[in-house]
């Protein structure tokens, strides 16, 4: 689950992996997600790091804490995550794509063609 090599901060990987779980239905809305301890232990990371990832999701209103019980998925979290990722999509994927494309000397038309090809299912 966690990639220890590479640049991506661990706590972000934790929150993203939970988000992935919510999006894919592994963690339905209003269901409980694993505790900080469980996440830390199974990923072999410090509980403080796991907590940082969880807290990020709490801040974003994706999960909430039920006292004495644990952390649960907020209703509507799925939509929230989708919206968030849509907003991040440009920064995360498009900028990189354009950068690399420019490096290689692609024109805008060539890139557009490639994207269309991708959608038409040469996957």
């Amino acid at each position: 689950m966690i990639n220890f090599t590479g640049d991506r901060p661990i706590f972000l990987q934790v929150s993203e992996s939970i988000e992935d779980g919510i999006l894919s239905g592994v963690y339905p809305e209003e269901s409980q997600i694993p505790s900080t301890t469980e996440i830390a232990a199974s990923c072999r990371i410090n509980p403080a790091t796991a907590l940082k990832g969880i807290s990020l999701l709490v801040e974003e209103g994706i999960i909430y804490k039920k006292r004495g019980l644990g952390m649960f998925v907020v209703s509507g979290a799925k939509e929230k995550i989708r919206e968030k990722r849509k907003r991040e999509f440009y920064e995360k994927y498009v900028v990189q794509l354009i950068d690399e494309a420019k490096k290689l000397g692609f024109s805008e038309a060539e890139i557009t063609y490639l994207i269309r090809r991708g959608f038409e299912g040469e996957h």
Binding site: I2, F4, T5, D7, I10, T36, T37, A40, A41, S42, C43, R44, I45, N46, P47, A48, T49
Partner: protein, 287 residues
């Protein structure tokens, strides 16, 4: 009253060699510490002085504000698992557990026996008949079951195979989450322990060269990769702690924080992992 183990200006010499040179460091705040250092850097000496196995030539050790020397009450709060095996050779594993419980009332016999089971450690075996790996396992089980407020583990994964090492780290995290105590993992195996620890103390040649959070340490180091010329130009005026060259390309490890807007074109910026940072820092000191 500070809840911590404090070392103040501790000096320890062995003949002409200064093993600990004016060491001032604090372990506390219910965190998992990594005490990192090369072989012979002074890690074991430091831990031995905390637990009165050795005596400092100068300086003092305080546990929760009290001097630790010859202090049974202070020692009760600490459990150290050292490289040396101090148990009687002919004592059986089960008896090691039972006797530890006599001295450490918080010791959990059930937990110890269940761990022995998980590791497939035969409790009827005598200490002398255990392999290096299983001796480490025995000591780790005792340390984890002690539930001591300060649990110090010196080279805990010595001789452990990959599966057992993995189990061990998981157990440390679970125990820490359960007890919220202060755990110190002293090791030269940086990579494995890197994500488990929260704070880092680096000791090199008897001196503390870093004492802070892991995040802090990692934020202070980065690398730039590019043509040798560009890299050298960039590196001017900065603290370079190491470099590697291959052909016309060079990678320089810089101690400090990169600028907000990144690095000049032609250079690739990346973060440095804990082990690499450790290697570069300790190498830099050598030169």
């Amino acid at each position: 009253m500070k809840v911590s183990i404090e070392l103040k200006n501790v000096v320890k010499r062995f003949g002409k060699v200064t093993a600990l040179d004016n060491v001032t460091v604090t372990f506390g705040g219910n965190k998992i510490y990594g005490l990192l250092g090369r072989n012979g850097a002074g890690k074991t000496t430091l831990l031995s002085i905390i637990t009165s196995r050795l005596f400092a030539d100068e300086g003092e050790v305080l546990v929760d504000g009290e001097p630790a020397r010859e202090n049974d009450r202070a020692m009760r709060k600490i459990y150290m698992m050292g490289e040396a095996t101090l148990y009687p050779e002919n004592m059986r594993v089960g008896d090691v557990f039972r006797w530890t419980r006599e001295f450490y009332p918080e010791f959990s016999l059930d937990y110890a026996f269940s761990l022995a089971d998980s590791f497939k450690l035969d409790c009827r075996k005598k200490v002398k008949s255990l392999s290096t790996g299983y001796t480490s396992i025995l000591k780790n089980i005792v340390a984890l079951s002690s539930n001591a407020e300060y649990t110090l583990l010196d080279e805990p994964v010595l001789g452990l195979d990959a599966n057992h090492r993995d189990m061990f780290y998981r157990l440390v995290i679970e125990k820490y989450a359960e007890r919220q105590n202060t755990i110190v993992l002293s090791t030269h195996l940086i990579e494995e322990v890197s994500e488990v620890i929260e704070d880092v103390v680096i000791i090199d040649g008897g001196k503390i060269i870093f004492d802070g959070s892991r995040a802090d340490l990692l934020a202070h180091g980065y690398s730039v990769l590019g043509s040798t010329e560009l890299v050298n130009r960039y590196a001017e005026g900065r603290t370079v702690i190491g470099s590697e060259s291959l052909g016309g390309m060079k990678k320089a490890y810089i101690w400090g924080k990169p600028e907000q807007d990144g690095v000049p074109d032609g250079l690739e910026l990346s973060s440095v992992d804990l082990q690499r940072l450790f290697i570069q820092l300790t190498n830099a000191r050598q030169n």
